[in-house]
Subunit: 180 residues, 2 copies
Amino acid sequence: MKNRYEIRLSGSGGQGMITAGIILAEAAGVYDGKNVVQSQSYGPEARGGASKAEVIISDKEIFYPKATAIDILLAMTQEAWEKYSSDLNPDAVAIVDSWYVKDLDKPGVISLPLSQKAREEVGLEIIANVIALAAIAQITGVVSREALERSLLSRVPKGTEEKNRQALEIGFRLGKEAKK
Amino acid sequence: MKNRYEIRLSGSGGQGMITAGIILAEAAGVYDGKNVVQSQSYGPEARGGASKAEVIISDKEIFYPKATAIDILLAMTQEAWEKYSSDLNPDAVAIVDSWYVKDLDKPGVISLPLSQKAREEVGLEIIANVIALAAIAQITGVVSREALERSLLSRVPKGTEEKNRQALEIGFRLGKEAKK
C-alpha cells in the first residue's frame, strides 16, 4: 500500500458523486483510522453536466489537500471520463461505467456494469454510486469492506438499508470478477 | 466585498455541518456563479465530538484550496468554538449558538438562538444548520438569499420544503436583528 491515495469520483450531476465521496471519506477516516480530506469544487470551471468529488486518504497528516495525480478514478459518464481522466498517475486504477462510457482512449481501463446492475438487480439506478464504491474497495483495498459498510449504513435514509447492502454485495462481486 | 472568503462551519457530529457546507457551496458556486471549493477532514486530528466543514468562495480561480485565515466562523458547540476559533482573521465574523456556547474568550462574537429557535419554532433541532446558513447570508452577504434558497430546496428531502423555508426565514430575521 502507498502512503497517500488520491481518488476522484466523477459523473453527472444527479449520480450521487458528492455523497459517494463523503461515504468513502468517513469510511476511511472514521472507521479505518486514516487521515482524510474530502472536497468538491463548484463554479464556472465546474459547470456543465460533469461533477466530481475528490478524496485524499493518507497514513500521515495531509498538508497539501489538493489532488495532484489521481491514483483511482471513477467515471460514470463519457463526459466525466473526458473531462477528468487527463491527470492520472501512470499506475492509476481507472473504473468506468460500461453503459455510459463507451469510448476509451486509454488501455487497461476497468469497465463495469455499475448502472446496469443498479437498474436490473436493485431496481434503483441512483444506487450505482454504492455499487461503484464497493467495487473500488474490492479492487484497490483503499478502504476496508467493513468500514465502507458502516459508513454507508450510518448515512442512508431509514428503510433503504437492505437495498444499500444489496448494492454493496453487487459491487464486491463485480470487483472480485474484475480482479481475476 | 473581498475577493476570497474562507468560511468554517463547526459543531458536533450530528448537527449537519457537512450538509450545510455543501448547501452553501452549491448556492455560491452553482447559483451565484462564484468559484467554490468545499471540504471536510476526517481522521485522528478530526476525532472527538467536534466536526467542521470549510467553504472557500472566490471571484477568481482557487489555486490554494486550504483555509488559512477564517473570515466567517460558525460554532454550534462550546467544543467546536474552542477547537476551531484560533485562526480567525482579525476582522472575522464569528457566529455562535447561544444555547451551546456560553463561554466566549473573544469580544465581538455574535451569539444567536439558532438551536433554540429550531426547537421552539420549527420543532426540529437538526434544522438549526439551515437557520445558521440564513443568518450567515443575511449578516455577511457572502451568498445571496435567493441562491441559498434554491440550493437548499434542491437538496432537502421531499415533504420537508415548508419547514426548511420556515428555517430560512427565521435565520434571515435573526441576521437582521443582529446587524442592527
